[in-house]
Symmetry: C2
């Protein structure tokens, strides 16, 4: 495992963007540029599609200062994709093409940053290269605001989204209680299958200004129970603030949003609003109360101005670790986070997880962290999330607005 | 005008909350507590309703450190109201009640913080007190994210909302361009009659990551022209980012959102989504493109974590000035902002405007700042807004989440 491997590196970003995926990019690119074994560093345009299309940007051509700004630039600066690779045993066209490109540029290192699907892609490429006898070290760098990657204590991107959600819920709660008239507020938070992000709104409540009720996709949703919960609090206090995960579903598996759409509207107009708007309407129709639905939408995943400095640092270190380990000889692994608590202080250690083990598993909020009524979280959730959101990154500003990285993106010939 | 007037002060917050209305509250309360002429400082619960209901909080009882946290606490901490006072010539019941309460607590100073309607309330109270021969100095403190108050260069609250909108649009734009597939994004921004806030999204474009098209209520909206604009940019670049003011309307005056609702949906379901969702759906139906509608909703007016330090300082100074002037003998005026540019540097001076002149006028975005195509702004708008959003307030944090003021709110007996 100690053999020196000389050659170029390719880095790609995949799946939905986050506030810190570019921090991981910086970790990979900076470490790769600094590694004597790595002769050239390419950034793939739109993830694996950039490799297939022979669209690689030469990172060596970039201004180091602009590259450093990636630490605080949200979204995927190189472009992302949602490209599902075929099973190579069924159709290996894409894999052969990747091998061709790797040979063309003498690529011996491949780093891929993404969530479940991307780790699966990464794993398949790793196996194909090995089978082909082409020496190429393949490493996965985790990413997902959904925090649902298996085998890692948490995922880069989650904490910054959680911090955005908690802060925004604190602010919304302040705003929603300003009049002495009744008001019910429903906030919709991302998370199709795992409710980590909606759960993070419990931090706002912990700090005195958050949702009264939180519903996650980890348990079945019951509309009658939901209405009872909301009206109980509304009648007692004149206000009610509800946070819902977009993925809440009935016992039969139907998403609450979809079920309503097909049930009441033949025109397909229900897609106009999302779940928050739909639930707000449902409450309004049944109770006559004043209700407001708010969807945090893209804002929650790209809010770099509210990023967690801990998240930024860990995301960057994950990328750096992937390069350092690959140069040392590791291949077929994803960098994972291990939480260490010493004297009550949080520390995050990097460890390596075989890609075979991580791909395509989903980690959900433990059921024992959800209260018995299925409308809130226990303190375990707060204890888990709180250390991750700490610290305010020094966001570079220009006239008090964010100054993002401006890359030249010179295409390799 | 120099006669010393000894007595208590009442302060009230009115209308929609902002990120800095509590900064004005702090300016008033702190200055009033410090003024030897003012014997007691009361905060009215829910604006003028708190006076009518005899619900006054004793500000003298509050911890000075908690009061100072009002500088960074969004929303209206004392509670707000949307209470329209009758014309006193028609029905003076409320005014008599106010006089009764003022006499009960020996209130000789009344400070009211709000927008157009609140300045109208303020004005009516001022005239009534004068007519009744009860000496009470009445001062208005401006407030509104809509920036539509007449006679002041800008309004406290506008700049922080503008900064929130510009930053969020920069982030959304980054996120919305991440895939190499087509994508149209429509962002809905507050502003029913004046388009200042939607116009502020032009700052994002100025700094390299903002909307391609911006539509304001200052001009008539044309759906066909809108579709042409969007599709031209979409076909040229594969992406299009549109910012719309919630108040855009057709030539006949109908709001675009309402017109659609009555035209296509007899169930009243169109209220499910707002304007952004409706326009997104319209574009999707006509073009088949992938479209996302995003409503910034309450977030834009309560985003204290993204406040402008300039706005916070000016909002606080407006409150302080109101007290200082009242103590000196002024009554029946609103504090207004005067922009002074010296050697290219922005400065904001306080001036006084008779309440008679300010009440119930609306200041809109000048038509000459809107481009000929009515889908964008000229550079005048950027020059106007940019100085106002400068500076990052030192937001007090607790575990990296906002630490808001926690007032005791002791009721006066």
């Amino acid at each position: 495992m100690e053999k020196k491997l000389i050659g170029a590196a390719v880095f790609g970003q995949s799946g939905g963007p986050t506030a810190v995926i570019n921090a991981s990019a910086y970790g990979v690119i900076r470490a790769a540029l600094d590694a004597p074994e790595i002769t050239k560093v390419y950034g793939a345009a739109h993830g694996i599609k950039g490799v297939l299309d022979d669209k690689l940007y030469v990172m060596d051509e970039e201004d180091p200062k602009e590259l450093e700004l990636l630490l605080h630039t949200p979204s995927s600066e190189l472009g992302s994709c949602r490209y599902k690779m075929a099973d190579p045993d069924v159709d290996d066209t894409d894999y052969k093409r990747i091998l061709e490109i790797f040979k063309k540029y003498n690529v011996r290192y491949f780093f891929y940053n993404g969530g479940n699907d991307s780790m699966d892609t990464c794993n398949k490429i790793s196996h194909f290269m090995e089978k082909s006898g082409y020496e190429c070290r393949v490493m996965g760098v985790p990413k997902t605001i959904d925090n649902d990657l298996y085998g890692t204590d948490h995922c880069p991107g989650f904490a910054s989204a959680a911090k955005y959600i908690a802060t925004s819920c604190m602010e919304i709660n302040k705003d929603a209680r300003v009049y002495d008239t009744g008001m019910i507020t429903v906030v919709e938070i991302m998370g199709r299958h795992a409710g980590w992000l909606a759960a993070a709104s419990a931090l706002a409540t912990e700090f005195g200004s958050g949702p009264d009720l939180i519903y996650l996709p980890e348990t079945d949703f019951d509309m009658d129970q939901f209405m009872d919960d909301v009206m109980r609090i509304y009648h007692a206090t004149g206000k009610c603030f509800v946070a819902v995960s977009e993925g809440i579903h009935y016992a039969d598996g139907r998403f609450v949003s979809e079920a309503k759409a097909s049930a009441t509207d033949g025109f397909g107009h229900a897609q106009l609003g999302g779940l928050a708007a739909m639930l707000a309407n449902e409450i309004k129709e049944k109770t006559g109360a004043k209700v407001r639905g708010i969807e945090l939408s893209l804002l929650q995943r790209c809010g770099a101005h509210l990023a967690s400095a801990t998240d930024v640092e860990e995301a960057c270190r994950a990328g750096k670790t992937a390069v350092e380990e690959a140069v040392k000889g590791t291949t077929g692994y994803m960098v994972a986070f291990k939480r260490v608590m010493e004297d009550g202080k949080y520390r995050c250690d990097m460890e390596l997880l075989p890609l075979d083990k991580v791909a395509n598993f989903e980690k959900k909020v433990p059921l024992e962290w959800i209260n018995a009524e299925h409308n809130g979280l226990t303190h375990d959730l707060v204890d888990y999330v709180l250390p991750l959101i700490q610290g305010e990154p020094k966001l570079p500003l220009e006239c008090s607005l964010p100054r993002y990285a401006r890359l030249k993106k010179v295409l390799a010939k």
